[in-house]
């Protein structure tokens, strides 16, 4: 818990990598979950392949795919941790043929300028 009572900083977790194929997505989510206990002002941003982390219907079982644990439902659990500010990059979505309806949680779609402004406002940016 923070030593200084009541210090609230703006934390942004920046995700740029696909959910499977490397561990960055999973382990960064673990930071978000632990971090939730510190009651800071948390936002999550998804850019480039990071937008895939929020895609519905991830097939990861041995029989259907790659034999790794599907952790996508954890994004739905974030709301219960008071982590509700999720932003995805518009261009990244379009480049990958994704629309808002393809995603498993409510998000706000930001263009480049809005994303830059969001980052400008942060005290701490953790990128993985």
């Amino acid at each position: 818990m923070p030593e200084e009572e009541g210090v609230i900083k703006k934390f942004l977790y920046l995700n740029r990598k696909a959910p499977y194929g490397s561990i960055y997505a999973l382990e960064s989510l673990e930071v978000v979950l632990i971090g939730a206990a510190f009651e800071q002002d948390v936002s999550l941003a998804f850019i480039d392949d990071g937008v895939y982390q929020l895609k519905k219907n991830q097939q990861t079982s041995v029989s259907s795919g790659i034999g790794v644990k599907d952790f996508s439902k954890t994004y739905r659990a974030l709301e219960g941790y008071d982590v509700e500010k999720l932003y995805v990059d518009k261009k990244s979505m379009e480049e990958r043929g994704l629309i808002e309806d393809d995603l498993l949680v409510p998000v706000e779609i930001f263009d480049e300028a809005q994303m830059a402004e969001l980052m400008e406002q942060q005290d701490v940016i953790l990128s993985f």
């Binding site: 200084e4 960055y24 382990e27 800071q40 701490v124 953790l126």
Partner: protein, 130 residues
């Protein structure tokens, strides 16, 4: 300024550990404070004492241990990431029933809360990754 540093990659495989070290040293030389250096993902591999790199190049692990000693730095390795990758201290080895431990001098194993705390307590958190 009070800095916190996050190292997300292991020694030699990526530049991150070298860059973090050079940054830390430069900052300390200028009189800045480093609140904590946190190692996550493969970054935990910076904390194994079992590396035997070639003698004619930098010894990344030892360099961290020496810097920590010189400036009383807090080098923290994430316990979850360490467990995944097989980095243990004596306590962890006992707890997990493993027959050896491998943590390097100057490093300690702790939770992700230490990273969040570092972000809160420092003025700037700098991330080194790939």
């Amino acid at each position: 300024m009070k800095f916190a540093i996050l190292v997300n990659e292991g020694p030699y495989q990526h530049q991150a550990s070298d860059s973090a070290y050079q940054f830390a040293r430069a900052a300390l030389k200028k009189g800045h404070e480093i609140f904590r250096i946190f190692f996550y993902h493969d970054g935990v591999n910076n904390g194994t004492r079992l590396t035997v790199p070639p003698q004619d190049d930098r010894n990344i692990v030892n360099r961290w241990s020496e810097l920590a000693k010189e400036y009383s730095l807090d080098l923290v390795v994430c316990i979850a990431a360490a467990q995944r990758r097989g980095l243990l201290d004596e306590n962890e080895a006992k707890r997990q029933g493993k027959d050896a431990n491998n943590i390097a001098e100057g490093f300690r194993i702790s939770g992700l809360g230490q990273l969040i705390e570092a972000g809160i307590q420092s003025e700037r958190l700098v991330v080194f990754g790939d």
